[in-house]
Every structure is written in structure tokens, then in C-alpha cells.
Subunit: 207 residues, 2 copies
């Protein structure tokens, strides 16, 4: 009954149905979205609808790092102010955005498009690894920074990449694991806490 | 910085910007939506985009009750199986949907399109009241059920409608106020609790 309530308009029913395609959005939120859109100026709703269609239709991926891009080479790979000697390897486009937000990294990226996961049927051949090897073998690359999840799959992928890259004249590094800012020691798992002790750093007072 | 992070694609930036038009959706959720849409089949994204544009462009409002509709008369007003002798007056389209979900009401509706609120500059002339008066004065209407919010504005509107309708040969009723199912007495406000005692009902055991 709840799902088949008469909304008195097939246009509304259809829009609600379509809006549930969005992640985490059920019928109730979809109805809220639709009702809100009905109260917006028609031009704004057209802009919204067209912006997502245009995004999906026209998006390109950078031929160098596989990041989303409007042109064959993305704005990061074509930015002359970036450090071309280091490539940060990540699983997804969202990871690039997260790292960019930190404002702590000025090198280039390489988006794998996933991580090795036999459980999900994702093997190395499904990822953009060949492309990474070819980049790593060329000047001016000096360092490959592995920034994958600290999960079983992430570790497996890091190890796989390490084996593929170790004979190239590049330094292979990995992002630091440790207790996060705001985390309580008491609730930090032993593996993370152990790593944070092994990889301890000189204390620099914040004066 | 957080808001102006480089997403390497103006298409993505634009879609994210547009998606924040949805109620309760900030930049972070909008980005999640956009990334999700990038992984969907192109036809599905087109269907979604077009469904909201079509909804906004082509929606009609029932000439009788002001409910959304695909035709001049909505599916409720044109449903011969409904009870034409009672009209339930509500603030918004969403209220109609909520009442329909209860499956306890088979009469018609009248959507006011708001409630009287001097604070928000909404006066009786901004609402579909004339239309209601004209419906109430015609056969076969016998009862007007006021189902407005239990707020100051709702009470004001109910009182205004009562004064406008009291000289017509219709019964004017109001939905029951009381302690909701699942509510605890301890946390129920005095006004509601008081009303629920005044309007107490014969106890019918659920055997």
C-alpha cells in the first residue's frame, strides 16, 4: 500500500520513481525532492535536469591519469605548476577529490578505477595498471605513492603494484597509517595503534 | 577552499552545483549523487533528467481541489467511488498523500496551497479559499473536515474558514488532536494531553 499510493499524477509518480535512482534516496525523500522541484522556477529545474544528462553524456576521462576531465588531458595533468615527479595511486575519482581537499599534495595522480578483489571478481586486468607501469617507467617520475584503502583488498593491490614496480628506478611509498585526529586511543584497533607506535615521529611543538 | 576544490571537470562542477538545489542536499551529497550517476547507464540518467523536467513543465492542478493532476480534473475528484459529500481541507499536496496513505478517508480534498501566516506575509487572498466556499455551497457536500496543522497558523486558518463556512448548510469538523501512537505521556505537551482527556473516547477492547 505504502509504495502504491495514488499520487494523482503519473508525471509525479514517474519522477519519484526516477529520483529513487539516487544513492540513499527512498520513495519518501524522492517525493520530497519532487514536491520541492514543483515549487522552483521552470528554468532552474531544466538546468538541473540538463546538467546531469550533459554530465553523463559528455564526461571524458584523462588519457594519462584516468581522472574525469572535460578534455583528453585533465586539468591536473596539464597544470604546469604541479610536481610531475610523483604519482599518487588511488582507487577512485573521489579519492583524488579527497586528497585535493587536504591541500597537502601537489603531485599527479593515477586512478586505478577499483582495487583487486577476488570476492567481487575484480582482477588486476580490470584496473588501469598497464597505464601506470608505462607512466612509472618514464621521466620525470621519481616516486609512486600508494594511497589505497587499509583493507585486505587495498593491501593486496598495493602489494601487487609493488611487485610490478619494484624493478623501476622509482621510490615506492605508502601513505601513513595511524590514529586519526579526533580518534580516541581506547577505540582504535590494535593494528592501527601498533602501526602508529612503530611509525612514531619526532614531536614538534606547535608554538 | 572546501567549496572551491578543483573537480577537474566543469561538467561535474556544474552538475554538483545544480544538485544542491534539492532540499537538504549539500555539496558532499551532491558530489555523491553525481559520481553515482556517472556509473549508471546513459539511458537511465537521461530518463531521470527528463522526468523532472517533464514533471515541472507539464504538471497541472485540479480545477476542483487544486491537487496535482495530469488532467484538468484529478483522479480523486473524478473517481466515482469516492464520497462526494465530504471535503477534507488541507494545506498542501503532501498532506493529501499522507491522508491517502492512511486508507481511512474516502471523501474528496481541497488543497489551500498554504496557511494564513502574517509573519510570512500569507493572507487569506493568497490561498484557494473562494474556490472552497463555492464548493461548500453546492450539492452534494454535507461536511467540511478541517485537517490543518495544530500550529498557531493552522488554528488561525481553521477559525477563518469556520467563519466563512458557518452559514452554509454543512457540518464543519476538525481532525482529532491527542496523544499519538507510540508517544509517551510524560513527553506529551500539556495542551495535547489536555485535549486528549477532554475528547476521550469509549474504550473498545481489541479482541
Amino acid at each position: 500500500m505504502d509504495n502504491r499510493v495514488n499520487l494523482t499524477s503519473s508525471l509525479l509518480e514517474n519522477a519519484v520513481e526516477q529520483l529513487t535512482m539516487l544513492p540513499g534516496i527512498g520513495k519518501k525523500s524522492a517525493l520530497r525532492f519532487a514536491m520541492h522541484l514543483l515549487n522552483q522556477p521552470i528554468e532552474n529545474v531544466e538546468k538541473l535536469g540538463q546538467s546531469i544528462i550533459k554530465l553523463r553524456r559528455e564526461i571524458k576521462y584523462c588519457s594519462n591519469c584516468n581522472m574525469i576531465s572535460d578534455s583528453p588531458l585533465c586539468s591536473l595533468c596539464s597544470d604546469k605548476k604541479r610536481d610531475y615527479s610523483i604519482i599518487c595511486v588511488v582507487e577512485s575519482i573521489r579519492d583524488v577529490i579527497s586528497i585535493e581537499k587536504t591541500n597537502e599534495y601537489r603531485g599527479l595522480y593515477h586512478v586505478l578505477g577499483g582495487i583487486i578483489s577476488p570476492m567481487d571478481g575484480i582482477s588486476p586486468s580490470d584496473l588501469k595498471i598497464d597505464n601506470l607501469i608505462s607512466r612509472a617507467s618514464k621521466e620525470p617520475v621519481k616516486e609512486i605513492l600508494l594511497a589505497l584503502s587499509a583493507s585486505m583488498e587495498g593491501e593486496t593491490t598495493s602489494f601487487y603494484l609493488y611487485r610490478k614496480l619494484k624493478d623501476f628506478p622509482v621510490k615506492i611509498s605508502v601513505i601513513a597509517r595511524g590514529v586519526g585526529f579526533g580518534d580516541e586511543l581506547e577505540f582504535t584497533d590494535e593494528l592501527t595503534l601498533g602501526k602508529s607506535i612503530i611509525n612514531r615521529q619526532p614531536f614538534i611543538p606547535n608554538t
